[in-house]
């Protein structure tokens, strides 16, 4: 029934049994054309607007809710169609078609409305251009910030690289490498120099065990021990070990290690490895030389010991029998015989003195210093008494001692040194009517300098260093007796105190010996 009704309606779409709509306008031109033109222009624009809309939608790929735009387009087209039919209806009365088109328009408008209603919340979310602009600005600012940070990061990374390079080149120059071990992973981190010390390519992966195995076998127990102590007791180490590099070369290294902590628990180690091969080998060879030196010193000592015993025995015999001859048998010899006997006697005595002096000199080098504070003035007072027993003493000698600052040293040795200096002064003044020896002290640059001045024969300053050597004599033994060891003993004593001795002298006017301790 209903179907028949619809069929009938469709069949009558172009039924023209009604009167045209112009009749309603009574064909009045103004009424008619104003309606027809109005409808036509509206229809025209209603057809064009969707075209633009479709074009717009098709061009803007990213536009949201395209469906609504399409519905709007259909809706406007249907409106355009209704206006068109309205204009046509003025002359051709297809009112069924007009009704159909209006129904269609109504349906489309409702559908559009429904779509709008459904999509409204979503549509509201679509940002407005100003909001978009704001977001855009924000985004731009964020991008700029990001770029800036990126640039900073790059700069920092470059700086870090430079620092690492500097560290590496410093380590290379100083032959120091740094390392780190993580107990959890067992992995080690080595600086470039550590690889170089091991003779390895830089960056080769390493684990703790590898590192230990590079040490020479006899050091490995110790290496393991210090690592274990660092791990369990938190101890550090600083030791010297021999490392065998990849080529089999042995290198002395100094290694230090410290535990690293996390939550009070030892989680790893870090430290340094320093190539000390050259220094160590030099030190070892120095040690060997010192041992050799000690050995030759010991030999010298036993040599001097045997001199003191074995050489003196025949000397005593020569001297002893010569003296007995002189005392008991001088009457049996003529004058020349007695003179020759005298020479034998005095030569033997001289040789005895010489041996004694050499022995004293050699003993000085070996004897340990026992230092104590020394009152220099009382030392000189004692010496003044002892010196009056000397064979060089006579009534013409006058020793004048000024107030002296106290010092510190081995009293027996210093006494010996000063005795020798005083005796030296007397000896090289002998023959003068008035022998004046003055003793004093001065302070220069905070150092106490003592001096002993005589008015004796003096020496040519050309020989100022020579006179301190063993057996160095500037005068013939005939003119001034002595063994030539006295001043060498003085110099040795002063030097063993870490001091210095020197002299100023003028031939014919006297000498001044200076010393500081």
């Amino acid at each position: 029934m209903y179907f028949l009704w619809v069929l009938d309606f469709l069949k009558n779409l172009t039924n023209d049994r009604f009167m045209p709509h112009g009749m309603c306008y009574q064909w009045q031109a103004a009424t008619l054309w104003s309606n027809v033109i109005g409808d036509s222009i509206t229809a025209l624009s209603y057809f064009l607007i969707p075209a633009f809309l479709v074009y717009f939608v098709s061009k803007r790929k990213n536009i949201e809710m395209k469906g609504i735009f399409v519905m709007f387009a259909i809706f406007i087209v249907s409106c355009g169609a209704v206006h068109t039919i309205s204009a046509v209806n003025v002359w051709i009365p297809y009112y069924n078609l007009a009704g159909f088109m209006k129904l269609t328009m109504a349906f489309v408008s409702m559908a559009t409305l429904a779509l709008l209603y459904i999509n409204m919340p979503k549509a509201l979310l679509i940002p407005s251009p100003s909001e978009l602009q704001k977001i855009n600005d924000q985004l731009t600012a964020e991008i700029e910030e990001k770029n800036r940070l990126q640039k900073e990061l790059v700069e920092q990374r470059e700086q870090l690289q430079k620092t690492v390079q500097l560290l590496n080149s410093t380590q290379e120059a100083a032959n120091i490498g740094s390392w780190k071990v993580d107990f959890n992973t067992g992995k080690s981190i080595w600086s470039n120099q550590v690889y170089r010390i091991h003779g390895l390519d830089i960056g080769a992966p390493t684990i703790l065990k590898d590192g230990i195995n590079y040490y020479r076998e006899d050091f490995r127990d110790r290496v393991n021990q210090v690592i274990e102590e660092a791990r369990t007791e938190g101890k550090s180490w600083d030791e010297e070990w021999v490392l065998v590099d990849i080529t089999g070369k042995e290198i002395w290294v100094r290694t230090t290690g410290n535990p690293t902590y996390e939550n009070d628990k030892v989680v790893g180690l870090e430290g340094l490895i320093i190539d000390i091969d050259q220094q160590k080998r030099a030190a070892i060879s120095l040690e060997e030389q010192a041992i050799e030196l000690q050995e030759s010193n010991d030999e010298l000592e036993s040599f001097s010991y045997s001199i003191s015993h074995d050489m003196r025995a025949p000397l005593r015999a020569i001297n002893g029998y010569a003296e007995i001859l002189k005392e008991d048998y001088s009457g049996a010899l003529d004058k020349e015989g007695n003179r020759i006997l005298g020479i034998i006697h005095s030569s033997a005595l001289k040789l005895g003195e010489l041996i004694d002096d050499i022995l004293a000199f050699s003993r000085l080098g070996r004897k340990e210093l026992s230092k104590s504070p020394i009152k220099m003035n009382s030392l000189f007072k004692q010496l003044a008494e002892e010196i009056s027993e000397s064979k060089y003493w006579n009534e013409n000698v006058e020793i004048d001692v000024a107030k002296l600052p106290d010092s510190k040293g081995d009293e027996a040795m210093l006494k010996q040194a000063i005795y020798n200096l005083l005796e030296n002064a007397m000896k090289y003044s002998s023959g003068k009517d008035n022998i004046k020896i003055s003793v004093g002290a001065e302070t220069k640059a905070g150092e106490k300098i003592y001096f002993i001045r005589d008015n004796g024969i003096g020496i040519n300053m050309e020989y100022k260093d020579k006179i301190f050597g063993v057996f160095q004599r500037l005068h013939s033994a005939k003119a001034y007796e002595g063994t030539g060891v006295g001043l060498a003993i003085v110099k040795k004593i002063i030097e063993r105190h870490g001091g210095e001795i020197w002299l100023e002298s003028e031939e014919g006017k006297g000498s001044t010996f200076y010393f500081k301790l």
Partner: protein, 140 residues
């Protein structure tokens, strides 16, 4: 043996003769026995443990072949009858360690033999005279 005064233990013939000469010069009546080395010395002191005439002084040379003065000293000091006899060490050595060791082993004094015979004679004579007179006193 009538009256033994001094036992001289000295391996060097010259030194021994000079010492005896020096002592005789200073004390003409002195009775001296000279022993040539350490072995002879030990033998002498072993055998003479029972003798009534003890020497009044022993002069002992430090450096002797085979058995040196320190060993002789150690050995003879262990005999009761030698324990209290004065022993003077004679030597050429001024080595500190020799002196210290000698004193530790109980010597009474120590003489470094000088090269000069006159000095040696003076020293040894005064030592001889001193100890002989000390013993005379105690024997009285």
């Amino acid at each position: 043996m009538k009256n033994l005064d001094i036992v001289l233990i000295e391996d060097d013939d010259n030194d021994a003769e000079l010492a005896i000469l020096a002592l005789k010069k200073s004390i003409p009546t002195v009775e001296i026995i000279r022993l040539r080395d350490g072995e002879e010395a030990i033998e002498f002191f072993e055998q003479n443990g029972e003798i009534s005439h003890k020497p009044k002084l022993i002069l002992l040379d430090l450096k002797m072949p085979k058995i040196d003065g320190l060993e002789v000293l150690k050995k003879i000091r262990s005999y009761d009858w030698v324990k209290n006899l004065p022993i003077v060490m004679l030597t050429s050595s001024r080595e500190h360690k020799d002196i210290v060791e000698s004193y530790n082993l109980g010597i009474n004094s120590y003489v470094v033999k000088p090269v000069s015979f006159k000095d040696f004679a003076d020293t040894i004579s005064s030592i001889g005279r001193y100890w002989l007179s000390v013993n005379e006193e105690s024997n009285k």
